[in-house]
Amino acid sequence: MAYRPSAGRNQKGSSEPQESNLVPIMNLFLTIIPFLLMMIVIGQVALLALDFESSSGNGGDGGDGPGGDDSGKDFEIIVVIKAQPNLGFILKVTLNGKNIDGYPQEFTDFRSLDLGLKNLRNHPTYAENLKSATDIGIYPEPEVLYGVLLQTIDISKSNGFPGVRYQEYFEGVI
């Protein structure tokens, strides 16, 4: 009676257990992670646009006092950023050069300005006219910080005023 050869004698067919090589995967992750981190930082940088082309009516003139082409517009909405004596905002809305009811209004922080711009659309008399308004003038006093200016522009744009005119402050704008 023939017996089959013992399993110990015949090792030709058996293969060694293969260890999975994790080094390439680790290298892959180590290379990708710094790039992903770098891309996240880039992604956080935002841009705010001001267009100074005269035809668009946006942007303003930046240095020649009150500018922009306002001809044919009855309503004018402006935000004056005050640095002296205390920092704050004045929201002024005029119709044919005269303040409308309830304006100008003063605000002392960003949140109240944000609310003020939202409430502007619900004006008891001129809500219909002001709902379609897209332009706003920003007049920062010279000593106002750039960060405050940019955040005021941000609040204006996020409240439906994409046509921001950045204009130089002058006495009598209020």
Binding site: V23, L47, F52, G59, P142, L145, Q151, E168
Partner: protein, 204 residues
């Protein structure tokens, strides 16, 4: 390949010493070879990024300068189609005003206050001329390119310097001509919740 080669030579050596024809297999530790696979992985990834960067050369990416505090904003806009920006950095330290990819220094921010036509304001004139030169350079890069200005300024810079910079860019004229730029972008850090986190208006 390295592992197989190592194993074979080890078996042959044992057979010669014994003089026996019986085939024995001795477990030996594999020699540690350098893994080319890992190297190839890294090279492939680097290559992919290099190719990507080369193909989108005209698309600018903007990063925050390390020693500058940018304001936070909710709104984030894109450069106009075909836009290419000349970056003007206004630092709140002794770096002053730095312009362009080559980071050309134009001195401190006080230096740009003035009229480019005024001989007593040479820095203002130099900056104006550089912007005008860059406008032409950007226009010549590729047909349809729209030259823009990107202002990256520190949160604590007083607005009068930014107003002056804007005026110099879009309105100041020398010999009857302006720099040519009409689109200005301001750089910020996007933060959806900055308003909630702000209690009072920051003061200098």
């Amino acid at each position: 390949m390295i592992r197989h080669g190592t194993r074979t030579s080890a078996v042959m050596a044992e057979r010669n010493e014994d003089g026996s024809k019986r085939r024995t297999i001795r477990k030996i530790e594999d020699a540690k070879g350098m893994s080319i696979t890992s190297l190839l992985d890294i090279l492939t990834i680097i290559l992919a990024f290099l190719i990507k960067n080369a193909s989108v050369e005209m698309v600018q990416k903007f990063t925050k300068p390390p020693d500058m505090k940018l304001p936070e904003t909710v709104v984030s806009e894109q450069l106009v189609e075909g836009g290419y920006a000349l970056v003007i950095k206004v630092f709140d330290n002794n770096k002053g005003i730095v312009v362009g990819n080559d980071n050309i220094a134009f001195g401190n921010r006080e230096g740009i206050i003035g009229d480019p036509n005024d001989p007593s304001a040479p820095a203002t004139r130099s900056l104006w001329e550089y912007m005008k030169f860059q406008y032409s350079e950007i226009k010549e890069q590729k047909e349809g390119t729209v030259p823009c200005i990107l202002v990256q300024a520190d949160y604590n810079i007083p607005c009068k310097y930014i107003t002056q910079l804007v005026w110099l860019t879009v309105a100041a004229q020398v010999d009857g001509s302006a720099t040519g730029f009409s689109k200005i972008y301001f750089s910020s850090m996007q933060d959806e919740k900055w308003k909630e986190n702000s209690t009072t208006v920051a003061m200098n």
